[in-house]
């Protein structure tokens, strides 16, 4: 098997593209990211490593906007992300220039996924080591969408999804607890999913909310308030569970 993971244009005898699979490993080591789609809101949440004291946190934005109505969060190699995000931003403007219309979420997702796929089928290059979560509202129909791409270049739409570290736990949580939500409830669901795998607290999470008006980054105080609400709800649920048991 070792001879089939040098140039990524080569399949292994049992049909694997090892470089692509190694790229997926890199994604699994990246920070946790979650996306939840509501009826009028889409929320992106990303884990923030809080160990760096001297770093200016404002220069590390993990949730970026590609256009007025599209935002992206990713897990994996951040340097690769910079390149992909730059190309996507150019494509958003180029689309506006040539057809005088903003991109749809599906269009830009297809573009990014296409770019990721190209790098799995070219000589001398390696795949991008990141999976992206792309959110936005369709500029014509106003329908909210959440898409995910991965290093192999596949993409699909989701009601809620997670990627990066411990994404399986988060996805399990979302599968159990997902329901159609709107506004604040969507934000809470996203943060609850993230808190399954991330240390609690506003300084460990970065959250951004996309509405028809645009993207809004929540500041630490807001996140702390919502986290406190969630913990209170959890405590109340625990207490409710214990109380009947005591009576019998």
């Amino acid at each position: 098997m070792a001879r089939y993971d040098r140039a990524i244009t080569v399949f292994s005898p049992d049909g694997h593209l090892f470089q692509v699979e190694y790229a997926l490993e890199a994604v699994r080591k990246g920070n946790a990211a979650v996306g939840v789609r509501g009826t009028d809101t889409i929320v992106l949440g990303v884990e923030k490593k809080s160990t760096v004291k001297l770093q200016d946190s404002r220069s590390v934005r993990k949730i970026v906007s590609l256009d007025d109505h599209i935002a992206l969060a990713c897990a994996g190699l951040k340097a690769d992300a910079r390149v992909l995000i730059n190309r996507a931003r150019i494509e958003c403007q180029s689309h506006r220039l040539t057809v005088e219309d903003p991109v749809t979420v599906e269009y830009i997702t297809r573009y990014i996924a296409g770019l990721q796929q190209k790098y799995t089928q070219s000589g001398g290059v390696r795949p991008f080591g990141l999976s992206t979560l792309i959110v936005g509202f369709d500029p014509y129909t106003g329908v909210p969408s959440l898409y995910q791409t991965d290093p192999s270049g596949t993409f699909s739409a989701w009601k809620a999804n997670a990627t990066g570290r411990n994404s399986n736990s988060m996805r399990e949580f979302l599968e159990k607890n997902y329901k159609e939500t709107s506004g604040q409830e969507t934000i809470k669901l996203a943060i609850r999913a993230l808190l399954e795998v991330v240390e609690s607290g506003g300084k460990n999470i970065e959250v951004a909310v996309m509405t028809k008006e645009g993207l809004r980054q929540l500041d630490e105080a807001e996140i702390d308030a919502i986290v406190a609400e969630i913990e209170a709800e959890k405590a109340a649920a625990e207490a409710a569970k214990k109380a009947p048991a005591k009576e019998t």
């Binding site: 931003r89 150019i90 403007q93 180029s94 506006r96 220039l97």
Partner: protein, 198 residues
């Protein structure tokens, strides 16, 4: 017979452009908007070859937007003017854009500013300027009546005087004009001066 002119006042800049789209002796339309809102605080009045005007101004607008997404902050008016001038200069010796531009902008730190950019990539920062045959009359009126720190009403009065001169003295004067203003609150359409309805 296109005409674009502009001036800087106290805390604002004004750009006035005619709104005729002409092909030889035919007037296609007289409500063509030639002043593009480049971003929230910039106005770009353009005159010249119709195709080049649309292509170049839209190209600049999308690049200004791209800069903002990449860097998180908008371009200053000076930077946008220099970018435009650079693009015109690069294309000049190959495939020139026949567009003359009046760029007006408002920046938080430096206030309102006005730039003259002509089709051979000349760039000047100015207080008042004009392009086209109408400039003969507009510049003369502004030389006589312009003073620094005018109020919006004073500037509009001067703009009206220029438009009146153009209408009465230019042989094929444009029928309608559009006035746009940019100040601390942003760039927006101010009013029209019409002689015909389209």
């Amino acid at each position: 017979m296109e005409c674009v002119f502009g001036m800087v006042g106290k805390g604002f800049a004004l750009v006035v452009a005619d709104s005729s789209a002409v092909n030889s002796i035919l007037v296609h339309k007289s409500n063509e908007d030639k002043i593009m809102v480049l971003d929230s605080h910039k106005l770009m009045g353009a005159s010249g070859e119709a195709g080049d005007r649309a292509q170049f101004t839209e190209y600049v607008q999308k690049n200004v937007a791209l800069y903002q997404y990449r860097n998180g902050i908008p371009l200053t008016t000076k930077a946008a003017a220099n970018f435009m001038r650079g693009e015109l200069a690069t294309a000049l010796r190959k495939n020139p854009y026949m567009v003359n531009i009046v760029l007006a902008g408002y920046d938080q730190e430096t206030g309102p500013s006005l730039y003259f950019i002509d089709y051979i990539a000349t760039l000047h920062k100015v207080d008042k300027t004009a392009f086209g045959y109408g400039s003969y009359f507009a510049l003369s009126m502004m030389d006589r009546h312009y003073h620094p720190n005018m109020t919006v009403d004073e500037a509009l009065e001067l703009a009206d005087q220029c438009i009146d001169e153009i209408r009465s003295r230019l042989v094929v004067a444009p029928q309608n004009f559009v006035i746009k203003i940019v100040d601390q609150d942003g760039a927006r359409e101010h009013s029209w001066r019409r002689t015909t309805r389209d």
